[in-house]
């Protein structure tokens, strides 16, 4: 058994220690004899590709699941029994990767679920509960009525509620599993300020993210998992970005160059054309994506960028303006119509509208192309399997099995399945909404490489995102802010300008 090389017998200096932990789900080994040592008072990053087992370790560290073997220590004491949730909650707080906000309850109740403020006797005092909730929301500068229903919050607001709740326990050890996946730039900064303030008070963090720049900005040390195994750990300031990625992927990192395919000529006709498009969340959007071109549509949370994209895909209906494909006007409001016109897309939320968890990878990947699998309404299972296998190969989906239920894949691979479906019909127009949310560095590249590949087949690609990494693949970028098109960048741009436009601020210097 490999043990931690860090030799320290002073148990008190470890906020959390995990040794020899393994965990298997059916045929999948999610963790193989891993260890992790988080020193008290540090912000410790845990990185690894999708499916490396990070979230599984989180569920073990927070007492939601028992490891098959191995030990967990928190603050020098062995982890409590699984049944004793209270004891776990006192020692470790967590923002889970999947939201645990309960839609039916009010914001205040979500913040204090199962620890509602008790008034006189054993009775809940709603007044005090709302007051305390308002106070907590105020600390996060969140202007949300504590009495409002969580269902009506935006996804970002829900993420804040999640974070605010986790950090309000007063736990000395906090785990954050991809907390920024749903936050925009300002939101991330606000979170970081909080984390730093708490760290100053001696709180320890285990921080999980696929945004490596966040690791370098925030964390002191880092542990890398790969293929369910521990690979290495060390101090962040002694690691370069390249070594980190190499540890994660197990491959040499190629020198990074401009990933964009050659831009198509100005005069090429066709592609996607939005003219004065207006809807409930956006106004007067005019945009062209030529065949062979990748255009970014950037905006922060609540900007309306997804609504614009959804209008193109048939998921939403604009009130004014036109969408044309190859100069032919598209009647919006129907996905099948959009598909027939040549639109393929990745929807913004892979869990809600992307995957059918219970169906196989093959079924999911080929769901929108039944006409390619047989004639007259028939589907040939053989052709389907072959077609799906080809998509799996093109997108490098792991494990490369057609008959694996899609729900059992890791987040990044699930996203690839959704992308496979988007390109399955060789679309003329490919719309990618938040294509790399929650996706590891390597998968990000391979996902966006799909977009590049699509352009080589002559597709017009629209990437709808708030991730600057994604925009590196774009020839041009349009930025929307609160539903209005505020900036257009051609060919070369400074990230800071894009971010400024996304946040709706004027930069003070030049």
């Amino acid at each position: 058994m490999s043990t931690a090389a860090v030799d320290s017998t002073d148990t008190a200096s470890w906020a959390a220690r995990v040794a020899g932990v393994s965990k298997t789900f059916g045929a999948t080994r999610a963790l193989r004899d891993v260890h992790l040592d988080v020193a008290t008072g540090e912000v410790h990053a845990l990185v690894g590709r999708n499916g490396a087992g990070k979230s599984t370790l989180v569920s073990i560290l927070t007492g939601l699941q028992a490891p098959d073997s191995g030990t967990v220590e928190l603050g020098g004491a062995p982890g409590p029994s699984l049944a004793d949730r209270e004891a776990w909650r006192q020692r470790v707080a967590c923002v889970y990767q999947r939201l645990t906000v309960i839609d039916e309850l009010s914001v205040a109740e979500n913040l204090f679920v199962n620890r509602q403020v008790i008034g006189g006797g054993r009775v809940i005092s709603w007044k005090r509960l709302h007051a305390k909730a308002a106070e907590l929301l105020g600390e996060w500068h969140l202007d949300i009525d504590p009495a409002s229903t969580a269902r009506d919050l935006t996804i970002e607001q829900k993420q804040y509620v999640e974070i605010a709740r986790a950090l309000s326990f007063g736990a000395r050890f906090v785990i954050l599993d991809e907390p920024t996946a749903r936050l925009d730039g300002t939101g991330v900064q606000r979170l970081f300020e909080r984390i730093r303030a708490l760290r100053a008070q001696g709180v320890t963090f285990l921080y999980i993210s696929h945004h490596l720049q966040e690791i370098f900005e925030l964390c002191e040390s880092v542990t890398v998992f790969r293929d369910a195994q521990f690979v290495r750990s060390g101090r962040v300031d002694e690691l370069s970005r390249t070594t980190l990625i190499e540890a994660m992927t197990g491959e040499k990192v190629a020198v990074r160059s401009d990933p964009r395919p050659p831009a198509p000529g100005r005069l090429i006709e066709g592609g996607l054309q939005l003219d004065g498009l207006s809807g409930s969340a956006y106004e007067d959007i005019t945009l062209t994506v030529r065949p062979g071109e990748i255009v970014g549509l950037a905006g922060s949370g609540g900007s309306g960028k997804f609504e614009i994209a959804e209008a193109v895909c048939g998921l939403g209906t604009p009130s004014r303006g036109t969408v044309s494909i190859d100069a032919k006007r598209l009647r919006t409001g129907s996905v099948p119509r959009a598909q027939r016109a040549g639109v393929g897309f990745v929807p913004k939320d892979r869990h809600r509208e992307g995957l059918v968890d219970g169906l196989t990878v093959g079924d999911n990947a080929t769901m929108s192309v039944p006409h390619r699998l047989g004639g007259h309404g028939w589907v040939s299972p053989k052709r389907q399997a072959a077609y799906a296998q080809e998509l799996i190969r093109r997108l490098d989906i792991v494990p490369p099995r057609v008959d694996q239920p899609a729900g059992e894949l890791s987040g990044g691979n699930q996203q690839k399945v959704v992308a496979a479906r988007a390109i399955a019909d060789d679309p003329k127009v490919l719309v990618l909404m938040a294509p790399t949310a929650g996706v590891d560095v390597r998968s990000k590249e391979s996902l966006l490489a799909t977009a590049v590949e699509a352009t080589e087949r002559g597709a017009a690609v629209l990437v709808v995102t708030d991730d600057l990494e994604d925009l590196r693949y774009c020839h041009r970028v349009s930025v929307v802010f609160r539903g209005r098109q505020v900036a257009d960048f051609e060919d070369q741009w400074d990230d800071r300008d894009v971010v400024a436009a996304m946040e709706g601020v004027e930069l003070s210097d030049d």
């Binding site: 309960i102 309850l105 809940i124 009495a147 409002s148 009506d152 730039g185 991330v188 609540g302 800071r496």
Partner: protein, 342 residues
């Protein structure tokens, strides 16, 4: 690499919180959505018969719905946690049935008289507890679907009552068993008191006690509730047992009211129970609904039946109108509330 996004943006609040107050009043509104139809029925009834809007008649309606009211209360609690219990109707028959069987003399009363009649009520409650435990074990420990488990239990328990009674009607039970169905407290029938108090206590517990709130959390998102430290399995166990015991009490009230336990007692009532809960705004998906709503649901259904009876609707069209009313109320509340009450 690209520089990190560090912009000194004014800390704009992320998306304004529209409609906090409205939200609350909408929820309140949904609780009381059936009040206008109830008032309408009261007015219609008054025109149909001068005997309708009298204390005597209304108290008869309340008495006759009190037992099923407890079943609606029980079902609402189960539904809030996102489960279902179809077997409540059988429990309402079997619990008093077993009590009668064990305490009544043989002969015309069909009992076996192994216990004195004072044991009747405790026996019924114990039967309720046992049924609840069996349901809970099958659903929680074995992870079976609640709908199908309680459907199987519905058939089995009903069959058990037919078995022990040989299909006959138990009657002539002692005063301990008929007490709740017959007594009056402060001039109001005890069964009305019990039903109304049970709803009131339930409503307070759901609003002001942690254990009550936890039902909403469990029904809303069981994984989240578990992560928040709520002992979800224990809650499911508890709620199945509480529901069965409430059904047993409801059954006792019904058999007290009828001074007998027919082997078909309460058969088919689960349809009415579900209809009442749902038109009262309780979600079948868990986490949403209130006891006030559920109470107005069953009240509305019983008032409608009462008015139909006064109106002399002929027997063969009774069920049709009754079912039609459920559908119409569903559609109207849906259109008014403007969103799915599922």
């Amino acid at each position: 690499m690209t520089e990190t996004t560090k912009v000194e943006a004014a800390t704009t609040p992320p998306a304004p919180a529209a409609g906090g107050r409205n939200q609350l009043s909408l929820a309140r509104f949904r609780d009381l959505a059936l009040v206008p139809p109830i008032i309408l029925i009261l007015i219609v009834g008054t025109f149909v018969s001068s005997h309708f809007f009298t204390w005597n008649n209304l108290s008869d309606v309340l008495v006759s719905m009190s037992w099923i009211g407890l079943l609606v209360l029980a079902e609402t609690l189960v539904l809030l946690t996102g489960k279902m219990d179809l077997s409540l109707e059988s429990t309402a028959g079997l619990a008093p049935g077993v009590a009668a069987w064990l305490t009544l003399p043989g002969g015309v009363h069909h009992g076996i008289h192994v216990l004195s009649s004072g044991w009747a009520v405790p026996i019924a409650l114990v039967v309720g507890v046992l049924i609840g435990v069996v349901n809970a074990v099958l659903v929680v420990k074995l992870g079976l679907n609640a709908f199908i488990v309680t459907l199987g239990m519905l058939i089995t328990l009903r069959g058990l009552l037919t078995g022990i009674s040989s299909g006959q009607t138990f009657f002539g039970m002692g005063s301990s068993m008929t007490y709740v169905g017959t007594a009056s407290w402060l001039g109001i029938p005890a069964s009305i008191w019990i039903c109304v108090l049970a709803f009131a206590i339930g409503a307070v517990a759901l609003r002001y006690l942690r254990v009550g709130r936890s039902l909403y959390a469990i029904g809303g998102n069981v994984d989240a509730a578990r992560a928040a430290g709520i002992r979800t399995d224990r809650s499911f166990m508890g709620i199945f047992v509480v529901a069965s015991v409430l059904a047993a009490i409801g059954g006792l009230m019904l058999s007290g009211h009828l001074a007998s336990v027919a082997s078909s007692q309460a058969n088919g009532s689960i349809f009415t129970v579900f209809a009442a809960a749902v038109i009262g705004g309780v979600s079948l998906n868990g986490g949403r609904g209130s006891l006030v709503g559920a109470f107005t649901g069953i009240l509305l259904l019983y008032l409608v039946q009462n008015v139909l009876t006064f109106a002399g609707v002929s027997g063969e069209w009774f069920d049709f109108l009754n079912g039609g009313v459920i559908l119409v109320v569903l559609v109207i509340t849906r259109l008014i509330a403007g969103r799915s009450r599922d």
